[in-house]
Amino acid sequence: MTELADAAQLFERLYDELRRIAHRQLDAGGATLQTTGLVHEAYLKLAQSQVVDEQHLLNLASRAMRQVLVDTARARGRDKRGGGLQVVTLTEGAQALPEMSLDVLALEQSLQRLEQADPRLAQVVELHFFGGLSFPEMSRVMNVTERTLFRDWRAARALIHDDLSRFDGANA
């Protein structure tokens, strides 16, 4: 029961986080109802899954998040031909360095490569980046020391950032 309560709490947190973002965006005058759509999609995917324990739920939630983002990006028309290949680095403003913005599909490709090389590294990225879990939380879920997880994260981060800068947003 406690495990399920934790799971519900964690999901709640994820959900709240996303809603908060949506609110802030709407307040700022943006037209970003898609973000709430994204949360509902995540919820649906979670609800369809058999939630057995915390680890499973968090993995699922993180994975769902990743999947939703990838699906959204694909649906947005970043098709393999044309669209995704025009590389534009709008580097005029120091406030938004191009390296800081995320190409979800390029990240997905990089993650898949990483999964082949070292699945645990990919899982760390999924939980930490997509799931938003802290290192202590991950340590609990994955039963690995925080220190190890932090090193894993650094290795994964290095590889992915390298890939992303080389992909240059290209999406072949």
Binding site: I21, Q25, T32, T89, T91, A94, S101, A158
Partner: protein, 903 residues
């Protein structure tokens, strides 16, 4: 792809080692990793690389997902589906600090064109800096039409006021992806890279620096053609000396991509074409080795202030990474030298141009010895110079340019010294020389136009002040011929043509064009059109009006419809038409054409503010000479605004424009405004001004003071004008005599006709053989005779001669009218009302409908008309006169005394 030579097992092993290495003290790490790798160089390199990446600056994973969402990266964009100009936005391609780029489509006649459409960020429409940058980028792209640069297609402003432009959408992969995916062999990689060199060379020839060259900005399309993208932080070379653009430049300084940035860019020093050459070197290195050219362990510049200036040879880098022996051997020697020559820390040691870099690659592929040498550090030695004809040529021209420069000013010389030996920068220095020459030429023009305005028309050209060294530079065929690149030669020759045009050396212009035109028969239409435009201007100045007409037509034909539609070239041609009309005596036609030319120049996006102002300034001059004084003031104001906005208001050309404005105000009778304008010019530092120009201004100022009832000051300024001119050109020179002649009316306006008579006697017969001046002398003779011996004969003489001269075109009508009005005032003050009224009546008859406006002459005409009609003083005319000459002026005071009783 991160390291092509690694297999999966090595990758996994590298990841493990990297994680373990993180627990080792940083200082021991390198040794520890080397020990663990036990001679596996590829593995060792990969671990080093991962550690370097770990230490590198932040990336997208360092921001939380919610931050990314908040930045709108996952949000649907409300602009998708919207119509912008003729395009419908389909999908977001990329986003940045300033705006976003979309895939957009245009549907016309069943044919769909897909483009990349760039829009400013929606929340920022009022950001003028962003707007300016956006406009600059657009302006840069417009001029860069090249097969290897993504084409600019269209631009405009959307319904809600957002500027946009469309460019070619390139369907392809980035350069590195392309070669890695296809495992492109080395020679084919070099061929692709040479296309990049072509594109960069073209940009440089158009005086554009890219400043952010990197693999992400270079695509290879489906046909295997390279396309260079993203001139978002590009820079126009000629803006260098233009303080108005500093704001943009400064904020752009940090916007480059550190891995590809040259040391001078990272340290914030001046960037040049050599900066792009450095980036080309990094890209070449990466194409050759699959990695970037830094020594182990450091990713310099990336978020840190470290600057690596000692890249290792590509062959060694590839060997360390475990590359195949065959591939390593292929790089050793030439390719090592070529890449390292690009990567020199000191800009002057890199290749002189992208064309030179390409040439060495060609030579390498053809098995010829390359021109760059590994011993480049001894590049200063005479031996090296002999071997490097480019460097020698540029050096010689540089020295000559310096020689010329000293003639203008020390400041110019210092600027020239800072210039590197790059050929494109030579073009830049020529542009500066031209600007300096422009100032001198325009000064002479002002001088001449002063005389034209005052004494009808002076036909001889002023004394030439062209430095002989400049002639030598332009005339040295051999020197120019050593530039191997024919485009560069053309650009330089056109720059020289322009230089001579600005110096009024029109015969030289024609000679240069005679040499140039056969050589450019195969060049772009724009080049041919430019040459034809110069020929048109030269022909007009040399009096060959038929030739001018032919040249204008040829220029028209050489332009594409797009070029004809906008930009500086059609504006210049229109101005040539204006000058042609003026030369043919069609003043009305000249005015219409000059106005249109100025309007076109005002909206041209392909010219510097200096060039825009220059052309509009010519328009102001044309209107001034055609008597369209209000229009002249208006255009001169526009020029001033453009130059002030661009930060060039402090130069000599601006002073000349201000003098044009002052002359127009003076001629239209806005005396107070004219005086303020001249005093404003005087307040600025005049130390670099030539004596003739100062003299011309003093002469005008003296006349103004006389008309404004300040006789003592007027006579002093008149003497100063004479001194300045005669001391510099000689007592017997025509210029000196003309200047003396121009002070005659000043003297009698100042109330001293005897003084005027003495001065006229002094000029004597010196001007008798110059017909236009002789007419002026005769006019002054009669005017002075009337004042000194007033009788029916002398009066009739004046009343006959001045209107007749005006009718015959020997004297501008305004001048004749003003002379008679002033005489009327003089006689009225003497109490000779009948003479005064007869003079005024003739003035009114002579003026007809031609003298209108808000100045002194129109209001005096109205006031006299009322008096002759025995009507009360018209208060509106009196108010106008007050504005023109001031409330305390005797002209006003005398009438105010009558006004109350008349009311």
């Amino acid at each position: 792809m991160t390291a092509p030579v690694l297999d999966q097992a090595q990758r996994v092993r590298a990841l493990h080692l990297m994680r373990e290495a993180l627990d080792v003290t940083a200082s021991d790490r390198v040794a520890w990793v080397a020990a663990q790798c036990a001679g596996d160089l590829a593995l060792n390199a990969e671990v080093d690389r991962l550690l370097a990446l770990d230490a590198a600056a932040a990336g997208p994973l360092d921001r939380s997902l919610s931050d990314h969402a908040e930045a709108g990266e996952f949000a649907g964009d409300p602009r998708i589906g919207r119509q912008i100009g003729p395009y419908v936005i389909r999908a977001l391609l990329g986003r940045g600090g300033m705006g976003a780029v979309y895939r957009a489509e245009r549907n016309e006649g069943g044919f769909t064109q897909t483009v990349a459409l760039k829009l400013l960020r929606a929340t920022d429409p009022d950001n003028t800096l962003a707007l300016r940058r956006f406009a600059r980028e657009r302006q840069i792209l417009v001029r860069l039409q090249h097969p290897h640069i993504a084409r600019f297609l269209d631009g405009g402003v959307s319904d809600d006021g957002q500027p946009w432009y469309a460019m070619e959408l390139v369907d392809g992969a980035t350069l590195l992806r392309h070669v890695e995916r296809l495992a492109t062999p080395l020679p084919a990689r070099l061929q692709l890279f040479m296309q990049v060199c072509d594109a960069v060379q073209f940009a440089h020839q158009n005086l554009v620096l890219h400043r952010d060259l990197k693999p992400a900005n270079i695509l290879v399309d489906a046909q295997g053609d390279v396309k260079l993208l993203d001139f978002g932080i590009a820079k126009l070379l000629q803006d260098e000396a233009d303080p108005g653009t500093h704001e943009v430049t400064r904020t752009e300084h940090r916007a480059f991509t550190p891995d590809y940035a040259a040391p001078e860019q990272i340290s914030g020093q001046a960037v040049s074409t050599a900066t792009d050459l450095y980036a080309l070197g990094v890209i070449l290195f990466e194409l050759l080795t699959g990695r970037r050219p830094f020594k182990s362990g450091a990713v310099p510049g990336r978020g840190s202030a470290t600057i690596d200036t000692n890249a290792e040879p590509p062959s060694r880098a590839l060997a360390r990474a475990g590359g195949e022996r065959r591939r390593v051997t292929a790089l050793r020697g030439d390719l090592d030298t070529i890449a390292l020559t690009c990567l020199q820390a000191e800009p002057a040691r890199r290749y002189a141009s992208a064309a030179a870099l390409k040439r060495d690659l060609e030579r390498h592929l053809a098995g010829l010895p390359i021109e760059a040498r590994p011993d480049a550090f001894s590049y200063r030695s005479a031996k090296f110079l002999r071997r490097h004809r480019y460097a020698v040529t540029a050096g010689v021209i540089f020295a000559l340019a310096l020689l010329v420069t000293t003639i203008f000013s020390v400041q110019q010389a210092q600027r020239a010294q800072r210039e590197s030996l790059r050929a494109t920068q030579l073009a830049e220095s020529l542009q500066r020389e031209r600007d300096a020459a422009l100032d001198d030429a325009r000064r002479q023009e002002t001088l001449r136009e002063h005389f034209i305005a005052v004494l009808n028309r002076a036909t001889e050209s002023g004394e030439s002040i062209a430095p002989e060294q400049l002639l030598a530079l332009a005339g040295d065929e051999h020197l120019l011929g050593t530039f191997g690149d024919s485009d560069m030669q053309t650009a330089l020759r056109l720059a020289l043509v322009d230089l001579f045009a600005q110096r009024d050396e029109w015969q030289r212009v024609v000679e240069l064009l005679d040499q140039l035109e056969p050589a450019i028969a195969d060049k772009a239409g724009r080049v041919q059109a430019s040459a034809a435009a110069y020929r048109a201007f030269a022909a007009i100045r040399l009096g060959k009006l038929g030739d001018a007409e032919v040249a204008i037509e040829r220029a028209e034909l050489a332009m594409t419809p797009e070029q004809r539609g906008g930009g500086m070239l059609p504006a210049e041609l229109q101005m040539a038409r204006a000058q042609l009309a003026r030369s043919r005596g069609d003043l009305a036609g000249a005015v219409v054409a000059a106005r249109e030319a100025s309007a076109r120049a005002l909206v041209a996006t392909d010219a510097s503010a200096l060039a825009q102002g220059q052309l509009i300034g010519t328009g102001a001059t044309t209107l001034l000479l055609a008597g369209e004084l209000e229009g002249a003031v208006e255009l001169a104001d526009q020029v001033e605004k453009i130059w002030r906005g661009a930060g060039v208001s402090a130069n000599l050309a601006a002073r000349i424009n201000a003098m044009n404005r002052a002359n127009a105000l003076f001629l239209s009778g806005q005396l107070l405004a004219a005086r303020a304008a001249i005093e404003g010019i005087d307040a600025a530092d005049a130390t670099t001004e030539s004596a003739p120009a100062q003299s011309a201004r003093k002469g005008t100022y003296a006349k103004l003071l006389a008309l404004l009832a300040a006789p003592e000051a007027a006579l002093i300024e008149a003497e100063r004008a004479i001194h300045l001119m005669c001391d510099s050109t000689g007592e017997a020179s025509h210029e000196c005599l003309r200047t003396r002649l121009a002070t005659i009316d000043t003297r009698y306006y100042a109330g001293d006709p005897a003084n005027a008579r003495r001065e006229l006697d002094r000029i004597g017969d010196g001007l008798a053989h110059l017909p236009p001046l002789a007419a002026a002398v005769a006019g002054f003779e009669r005017v002075l005779a009337l004042q000194l011996t007033p009788n029916e004969t002398t009066l009739i003489d004046v009343l006959t001669l001045l209107p007749n001269n005006a009718k015959a075109g020997a004297l501008p009508r305004r001048n004749a009218v003003r002379a008679m009005l002033m005489l009327a005032e003089i006689f009225d003050r003497r109490g000779n009302a009948p003479y005064a009224e007869r003079l005024a009546r003739t003035a009114i008859d002579t003026a007809g409908d031609a003298i209108r406006g808000e100045g002194m002459d129109p209001s005096l005409l109205l006031l006299w008309q009322a008096r002759l009609d025995r009507q009360p003083v018209p208060t509106a005319a009196l108010a106008t006169l007050e504005r023109a000459v001031g409330t305390t002026h005797p002209l006003v005071a005398a009438r105010q005394a009558q006004a109350p009783t008349a009311d």
